[in-house]
């Protein structure tokens, strides 16, 4: 597995600025081959993909294998701080990383709507290629389908990631004990607010960009520094509140958070205020929660803070035996409340 990235081969990239995806691009014929070579091959370019096979063959690694898959259907497709391509890479890499694993390869399936601009597809593929390269992970194999106009929404991307988890780690809700520390790797709500700020009909000026980032390197350092790490989670859809509620549901422990120590950027806080949303309910794409024994908390925090994506890491609460099954929070003014799941959709207040 020495040679990883190939030099870009000379391929024919003769599409014009206003070319669009047509049904034939998914038809299995020459046009499809050209699309795959000219767009995906060009940007993903690596030795696994170059096997030009329907399967990618790789040597068996040491340790246990983890697999995770995730579909990406985000709208708008391009947003401040990223796009559907980088998100499809980061999202799945992070799912793999939350198993405590080091990702080794990704696969990517594209469902493209007829009429989608080739230039946009190229931009997305370029961004995926870059995200994967920056993360040091290869996109090993892929699939392309084209659906009739009106039967899709631009592009859907499904990525599957595989990774390897060292034998000594034992990560999962079963390993969580009351008294453990809850650490968050940075500010909440950046991704969701960046998306909302660019959504048609809701545009508002904000300098917030998505936090979309691959976290596996930070994870590797954290589990190294805090080998007793019991749980890693990325608070994506539904935000921190859903992640925490999922964790405690039906378990013999609860979580007590401290609102005042949860980092939220002032711009995100004011956008939430304006829209009547709670930052705890908003999606993140480059943040993680680490639950570890209290005596390892400062080592885990320090490990996070060594990485740019963990700069604002903070100890935000602890696992408790009181009120098992509930996530509760000491509020900013010192009161107490339950932190609920996001229920239904969030609606702006009317009064």
């Amino acid at each position: 597995m020495n040679e990883v990235w190939l030099k870009a081969p000379k391929v024919d990239r003769r599409f014009k600025a206003d070319d669009r995806v047509v049904m034939a691009h998914g038809g299995g014929g020459r046009m499809m081959a050209e699309l795959i070579r000219g767009v995906f091959g060009h940007h993903f370019n690596n030795s696994l993909l170059a096997q030009a096979h329907d399967v990618a063959v790789m040597p068996q690694p040491a340790g246990r294998i983890v697999v995770s898959t995730d579909g990406h259907v985000i709208s708008p497709m391009f947003f401040p701080g990223g796009d559907i391509g980088s998100l499809a890479v980061h999202g799945t890499l992070n799912d793999v990383a939350m198993g405590g694993a080091m990702p080794i390869a990704l696969t990517a399936g594209f469902i493209i709507e007829e009429g989608f601009p080739l230039a946009d597809l190229d931009r997305i593929a370029e961004s995926m290629g870059k995200a994967a390269r920056d993360a040091g992970v290869r996109i090993a194999t892929g699939d392309t389908k084209v659906v009739e106009r009106g039967k899709g929404d631009g592009v859907f991307i499904t990525t599957t990631g595989i990774g390897v988890v060292p034998d000594h780690l034992d990560i999962g809700p079963h390993a969580v004990r009351s008294g453990m520390a809850v650490i968050l790797s940075g500010t909440l709500g950046d991704h969701g607010v960046a998306i909302m700020s660019s959504r048609a009909g809701l545009e508002f000026g904000t300098s917030i960009v998505s936090d979309s980032a691959a976290l596996h390197r930070m994870v590797a350092d954290v589990v190294d520094a805090a080998p007793g790490t019991a749980l890693l989670r990325d608070p994506t859809r539904g935000g921190l509140s859903s992640t925490m509620n999922e964790l405690v549901e039906g378990r013999p422990y609860g979580v007590l958070l401290d609102e005042a120590s949860i980092p939220v950027k002032p711009e995100v806080a004011s956008a939430c205020e304006l829209l009547g949303l709670d930052p705890l309910h908003i999606a993140n794409e480059g943040k993680m929660i680490c639950i570890c024994p209290p005596e390892q908390a400062s080592a885990a925090l320090a490990a996070m803070r060594r990485h740019p994506e963990g700069r604002d890491a903070a100890l935000i609460g602890q696992v408790v035996s009181d009120k098992p099954g509930f996530v509760r929070m000491t509020t900013a003014i010192g009161g107490m409340r339950v932190v609920d799941w996001l229920s239904g959709e969030q609606l702006p207040r009317i009064c």
């Binding site: 005042a260 120590s261 000491t330 003014i333 010192g334 239904g344 009064c351």
Partner: protein
């Protein structure tokens, strides 16, 4: 790194809490009604009750526009929505409120009625412009805060000659409801809680000012403090109420001076008065018929009045039988007194309006205090 708003500062909160503890007389019980659902929400969202002593009680009032709309009016709205020529526009919260026979606007929509969620009355006007062959009806609900935007839309529709727009008007008035709650003990002493003062609404008061509450101190000898929506505003207002009670004063005080004046927003009041008039009586869920408590559209604007434009049938409307919303809205019962709370009734499948709106008491208890509430209920059931 931390985000600390000056209105949510922990140290300030602790200072206020200490002052409240020091000044609240332990031999007394202080029952203060926060009229407005916005306050209920803030109290629960920040756990304000954890910072005040046990003898200071918040009684949750009926100031939640979604909660107090009687089922009958909601059934009427569904009937309007089901007319093939109608597009019914509503604020989002209304869509999930259960109507008679377990219907809701959402279910009507799923069954094919054209129901659209809007963020403002002007969105509804846009829909009317874009669909000249349809009748666009705006479901107007809310207190004095949401009335001016409805008035504005009617004014605009008239100016532009938009003929396919009308309003199903359910706008209600705060002071009349407070008066009604205070008169209730005379009607039925069992059905009322003793109130020692009111936290006055903030947004409503920006429109109507503090003057309309003066009857409370003059005629009913009840202290009022108009309070902002931030948790520290609420705490400071509680302290002001405690002082009034301790000193035997009954004044209308204004804690929210950064926004509210005595006279309010007179321009908005004028616009509202031009288009609406006071109904003799209006049905409130929980309170029953309340005199002079709601608005209807004036005769001069009758063409924009959905109640006049469409024939709405007589019907018998039914609430879910064991739903305690009516007593909860009067402050007589708490959500834990409802058998359905957290069992058949949750925000995902609400049985009553108080569980739908984020400003409703049941939703507030469920969302922010259910660990404690369910434990209390289990304890009471065991006894």
């Amino acid at each position: 790194m931390k985000y600390v708003d000056e209105f949510r500062d922990r140290q300030l909160a602790e200072k206020l809490a200490a002052a409240i503890r020091a000044e609240a007389d332990p031999k007394r019980i202080y029952n203060f009604m926060e009229f407005c659902g916005g306050h209920t929400h803030a109290i629960f969202r920040y756990g304000v009750q954890d910072l005040v002593p046990d003898n200071v009680n918040f009684v949750h009032g009926p100031g939640c526009p979604v909660c107090i709309l009687p089922i009958r009016r909601l059934d009427d709205a569904i009937e309007l929505a089901e007319r093939p020529e109608v597009i019914l526009c509503s604020y989002g919260d209304m869509l999930r409120v259960p109507a008679s026979k377990r219907r809701s606007l959402m279910k009507a929509k799923a069954d094919g009625a054209d129901v659209r969620m809007v963020y403002s009355t002007l969105d509804a006007l846009d829909i009317a412009r874009a669909n000249p062959d349809k009748q666009v009806v705006f479901l107007g609900i809310g207190f004095e805060t949401t009335t001016p935007p409805t008035a504005l839309a009617i004014e605009q529709a008239r100016a532009e000659g938009i003929e396919n727009f009308s309003v199903f008007c359910n706008h209600v008035l705060t002071p009349a409801a407070i008066r009604h709650i205070l008169d209730a003990p005379e009607i039925d002493p069992e059905q009322a809680v003793r109130l020692d003062g009111f936290l006055g609404p903030s947004h409503v008061s920006t429109v109507i000012g503090s003057r309309p509450y003066e009857f409370l101190s003059d005629k009913y000898a009840k202290p009022v403090v108009i309070a902002g929506f931030e948790p520290l505003d609420v705490m400071q207002s509680v302290l002001m109420l405690i002082r009034q009670v301790n000193e035997g004063r009954v004044d209308v005080e204004n804690q929210y001076t950064r926004v509210v004046t005595r006279m309010g927003n007179e321009k908005a009041q004028d616009l509202v008065a031009k288009i609406f008039e006071v109904r003799d009586t209006f049905e409130w869920r929980g309170l029953g018929s309340v005199p002079d408590s709601a608005l209807s559209i004036r005769e001069e604007y009758a063409q924009f009045d959905a109640e006049k434009r469409f024939e709405i049938s007589e019907k018998v409307s039914r609430e879910v039988k064991s739903c305690e919303c009516p007593s909860i809205l009067r402050g007589v019962k708490k959500p834990k007194d409802c058998k359905l709370f957290g069992k058949a009734c949750t925000p995902e499948s609400p049985m009553g309006s108080c569980m739908v709106s984020s400003e409703g008491a049941c939703a507030a208890y469920w969302t922010y205090r259910r660990a404690e509430t369910l434990a209390e209920m289990a304890l009471e059931a065991a006894e």
